[in-house]
Symmetry: C2
């Protein structure tokens, strides 16, 4: 993973010339003049942790699994939001951990928590490090990053019940490979797939691109083990239960603030025989949204179902790999007019054929025009490439960031309009008029999520340009009845709006849980819940 | 509702002579010799509540909505478990409330909670009064029953989002009628349907007979309002969210211990065009369970899917209305050999036909023999009649009770065997050998629920005979990896086992929530969570 960008450096691709020209002409993007900072140039302040604390950590996990070198610490500084990357690129490592600690299992996690409690160190659980909401930047200067990468085993697989017990540090491709060897899949494919971990998916209520078919990650979780400073919670003895509030749903979304998730029992499904993705064109976002709603409500449900708005379709971001290839939109698989939807089908040959045929009839009945499998294949090929594209945009001197929300269907038009307006107005006033694109990324019977991408010039200080726009978008989300996050989570970036969404008494109840499980407020202080 | 039994007295039916003979010959059931107690004969102790407290309650809801007459109080004493009914029939009203208070809305509920806090009165939220787990018997002598029947409105219906906002005191048939007038259904049809309320469904995580198609009640809930002594929680702005732990799932299953649910936003669906139920025969429970598992895992999913074991099939309880009609099992729609499954399909004509045809192929492939629609229709006709049958059995001097659990599929055989053995051994040792019947009542991809019915002679003291058997069944459930309740809830009856299932730290976290929302522990003290 790039220390100051996304993913595998070998996968980085420069922007096509047409895109660079578009950025310059449309948004006034200027090439960066300063050379990029190298990792070696970044000098975090020396750790201030007492030797006794480091010894206690070494006792917990073994000396070789406590790392205090600069590179390890810088690589565990913040997450992957655009402000995170911009700050790192500027050499700002104020949120650097004191040390990186790598436990091998549940008991070692408990031992680390005890050592940290004894020495007043905060703890930030660290999976893939892919948070885009400030989930790895606690409000405490002295903290350790608890990197879970050594906890990367498939602990159990029950083919009859179709369940698997996974350790939290498994990255999604590793988990899929272990399951595939037994003929199964989890079916969780978020954009962060290549790097994010099972524990992170659970802690932040992730949702994947195939959620229409496989469900959200929180719907896949059947049981959890949580290590806390006060001991262990093991929960989940049946798919569903009436034995009290669902403790699983209290741990899911707790973002490391209640404890460290040390195992996750998930629902698994047989590997699909067939995977087919195809494109559909709609005259407008409204028309396309109505079609998606009809499939979500009355079926048949595709496995993947998403719809880009006019701008995103025109730019080609519906299929990131194709961006700039066909700006005129003459190729039906490229950009072009109207709105592009992607419908995908995974499963047995018989089931996918039947669903696809019936869904096609519904989509056509709703005004859709089939665009064939080419856009679907391009989308599938580029489904994880948007974060690489962001790196290229940042390198080219542009600013690019995403945000997302969800609401009930009847609120979607207002939510869409309000967030676009907030972003456009705020950034235009700041002198960096943006391109705002959107797609419906996940559908439900009763509502949908909206995923926005913003591209603009960086301006003098890109973080200072972005912050008011992001705040205005957050305000627009709440005012239009949306949730502050559909699948990115709360972290520190959304916390103040989350507190308003959940309400003072709801937040206070969660704080009571935190006090019980983490009385010294060591776990991710300031992430999710305010510290006071 | 009968004060000492179930439901509408007009629907009571005496047992067929064949059943009475069977009870006598097989189980040694003796007709009761003592005449039944009448409601007028039951004399609860006079309320000890101070006049100032009653005045405060009258100030909150109006004088005419504070009832202290004996009949109102007796009618709000405990719920509808067999021990509850037997105690009432014996004139035992030790759990009688001081008063019955009927608020008209959220603000009045808050006012009642304030009044109760000021005067040290506990509060038991009361919907349909159908708890079968001691959920209405708090561990405090001075409490009021908060009857929510006046809060029975459909507050809003959003046809586009397919959501409806319901007040908690709506009984299920009332809610269905209000929705049906607009072309919608909730699709929640538990055995308690005729009497239970929306608030109770939410508070106790109810699951209906059509859960394979419509989902459990907790899956239908999109938003909730909770009135607590410390204020209000409003939660749910989107179908799904990554904004922290799911507060809805903390309120669902809280059984009145965290607050009073004052509105519930639910997912609704169009009224089905077609409802078809049919029977399938399997050679054994194991074979039938494998068929249900295959449909639950690979589809197509019927709307209703259940399977009676050999004993329940033989007795005819798979279709309660048919009991005794055909003890020899010569009528394929009656009792008989093997195991009877019911598969039901609700939806559009096209969708139900397609699902039914494909499911039939799967069921046949799994060894099933079609038994036609007659058993399905009988099941549907008698789907709410088992509690009436229990009254008739109690009247005839027999003991009858039910219990239920759930687990992952691979644990189901062990769970089935362990609970049967526990019940049979304990009651046999007590001199009242039982008939133990079971059916799979709800199916999931990863597991299923088991619903047991026990019939025996009453013995000297039926509650004393039953208690050790119930405790042995609870122990067997936990030992075999099941949950202490799949859809009845915890109440006071399951609390000690629930505490072991959730674990000390999990329970402690929930107690921290309770302390925050209900610092004086006024709400259902001792229900769900232990008081110390």
């Amino acid at each position: 993973m790039l220390w100051n960008g996304w993913g595998d450096p070998a996968k980085a691709a420069p922007l096509p010339e047409t895109v660079t020209a578009l950025l310059r002409d449309l948004l006034g993007v200027q090439p960066r003049s300063t050379p990029a900072l190298r990792l070696d140039d970044v000098r975090p302040p020396a750790p201030t942790t007492a030797p006794a604390a480091l010894r206690a950590l070494a006792d917990a996990v073994g000396e070789e699994h406590v790392r205090t070198d600069a590179e390890s610490r810088v690589r565990h500084t913040r997450g992957k939001s655009t402000p995170d990357l911009l700050r790192l690129r500027a050499g700002d490592v104020t949120d650097v951990p004191q040390a990186v600690v790598l436990p091998a299992g549940h008991d070692e996690v408990l031992a680390v928590l005890r050592a940290c409690a004894a020495h007043g160190l905060a703890v930030v659980p660290f999976g893939g490090g892919t948070s885009v909401v400030g989930g790895l930047a606690p409000q405490r200067s002295a903290f350790v990053a608890l990197d879970l990468r050594r906890m990367n085993a498939l602990l159990d697989l029950d083919p009859l019940s179709r369940t698997a017990v996974l350790q939290p540090g498994l990255r999604a491709p590793e988990a899929e490979a272990l399951l595939a060897a037994r003929g199964f899949t989890l079916g969780h494919f978020p954009q962060s797939f290549e790097w994010a971990t099972i524990g992170g998916f659970a802690a932040a209520r992730s949702s994947g691109q195939a959620s229409a078919g496989y469900g959200r990650f929180d719907e896949m979780v059947l049981a959890l083990t949580l290590a806390t400073p006060e001991g262990t919670i093991d929960t989940g003895r049946a798919p569903r239960s009436a034995a009290g509030p669902d403790l699983r749903q209290l741990i899911l979304g707790s973002e490391g603030a209640f404890g460290v998730i040390t195992s996750v029992t998930v629902r698994i499904r047989p590997l699909p025989e067939v995977r087919t993705y195809e494109g559909w064109r709609f005259a407008s976002f409204e028309e396309g949204a109505a079609a998606l709603r009809r499939l979500a409500q009355d079926g048949p449900r595709p496995t993947v179902l998403r719809l880009s708005d006019e701008t995103e379709t025109l730019v080609g971001l519906a299929q990131p790999d194709a961006i700039g290839a066909d700006p005129a939109g003459t190729d039906p698989a490229g950009g072009g007019a109207g709105c592009l939807a992607i419908a995908g089908y995974e499963g047995t040959a018989e089931d996918t054929a039947h669903r696809r045929e019936r869904a096609a009839a519904v989509l056509a009945d709703c005004g859709g025009t089939p665009a064939g499998t080419a856009p679907g294949e391009r989308w599938a090929h580029g489904r994880y490439s948007a974060p690489y594209l962001r790196d290229a945009l940042l390198d080219a001197g542009a600013f690019a960031e995403t945000l997302e929300t969800a609401a009930f269907w009847s609120r979607i038009p207002e939510l869409y309009s309000a967030v676009r307006t907030a972003l456009t107005d705020t950034l235009t006033r700041a002198g960096t008029p943006p391109l705002v694109m959107c797609h419906i990324s996940h559908v439900y019977e009763n509502g949908a999520s909206l995923y926005f991408t913003v591209v603009s010039a960086q301006g003098e200080d890109p973080v200072a340009h972005w912050t008011p726009a992001k705040h205005a978008a957050n305000e627009a989300v709440l005012a239009a009845g949306g949730t502050i996050s559909h699948h990115h989570g709360v972290g520190t970036d959304h916390r103040d709006w989350y507190v308003r969404e959940a309400g003072p008494l709801g937040v206070s109840a969660l704080r009571a849980v935190k006090r019980r499980l983490d009385p010294e407020w060591l776990l991710n202080p300031g992430v999710l819940l305010p510290t006071d």
